[in-house]
Symmetry: C2
Subunit: 200 residues, 2 copies
């Protein structure tokens, strides 16, 4: 059965984007560092091309694009230009938003806008069949964790400090217990891929 898996690159100090995010600076100052590991074909200070097929980062990328549906929030999809309506391979995309009638959505038949995270993940799992559901974004993370509808968490931990910006974990209720169990660690290039199961 499909599992919902939050997949996010995070700095060691907990940020998913640096400060001063703008449409032209989508990941904020120095935030691009968080994505070196999957920037296939990009030049990186490691002196190579990360995420090549066959290596650890490529394997992680391949798993992400083997998912059968995507759930994301407006904060993720807006800066990404709604992925031009197709996140990967034509799988259904469920966007969590309180603004249901985004005019742009009509042109993209793969995209459905919903305001309830439980419904979004439920419908995504149904659509994904045997495959997993890729969950993306800060708002989705908190909503899915608090609603108890997240099954796994994959953090691509990038050993850098951004010092400011957008944090992955915001709006988590400190009065509730949220525990995870490590299921795998993989060392990539300039990144450690940590996969956890949500303990309920």
């Amino acid at each position: 059965m499909a599992k919902s898996v939050l997949d996010m690159s995070m700095s060691l100090d907990g940020f998913v984007a640096g400060p001063n995010e703008t449409p032209d600076n989508g990941l904020g100052d120095n935030g691009g560092r968080l994505h070196w590991w999957f920037a296939r074909g990009a030049e990186t200070p490691h002196g190579g091309v990360p995420g090549r097929p066959g290596d650890v980062d490529g394997e992680v990328m391949d798993e992400m694009i083997a998912t059968g549906a995507v759930v994301a929030g407006r904060g993720t999809v807006d800066p990404a230009g709604w992925w031009n309506g197709d996140h990967h391979d034509g799988v259904p995309v469920f966007i969590l938003s309180r603004t249901k009638s985004a005019a742009e959505v009509e042109q993209w038949p793969l995209i459905t806008v919903l305001d309830d995270v439980g419904e979004a993940i439920g419908r995504a799992k149904e659509a994904a069949g045997d495959r997993d559901v890729l969950v993306h974004g800060v708002g989705c993370a908190a909503a899915a964790i608090e609603a108890g509808v997240l099954d796994q968490l994959q953090i691509h931990l990038v050993p850098t400090l951004l010092g400011a910006g957008r944090r992955l974990f915001e709006g988590i209720d400190p009065d509730r217990r949220h525990d995870f169990e490590l299921t795998s660690v993989r060392e990539g290039r300039g990144v450690t891929h940590l996969r956890y199961r949500v303990v309920r």
Copy 2:
């Protein structure tokens, strides 16, 4: 030669203590979870005694107490009752504090209070000889990183979300680059020990 190694247990959302820290609640609400892995002899929900000699957590603990000097800040040492003057095995302890003349210090000959992190780590390295220097605490972390006097970072990453509390990385200048390189990953019980080299 001695290396300065910051050693801290941190939740997945970046906290080293939960909210509502008081003298009787030194790690804040739920903050005790961060220390299960080294609470030798303590009962834990894992159903066992962590940090036993011979296992990974025990090995990590042994390395920490094999250090030849300690550098810590007031925020660490005050709640710990100044470790009664001896952090471990009688090694010298350098406390970073702007209040030099803490009356209590006089009774503890192993403890020196200094207000400059560079001097504190320099003197600790000298005292440690061939052994490493254990660096502890949030204030020390930021000061040592910003001053460029930290050599390594060992994060004991605990897969829980505290939601609020005291963050490990605070006061890091976002305009400077702080990069690290992973040198080892060890899986303990309910914790992942990540060791990084500071890239200068």
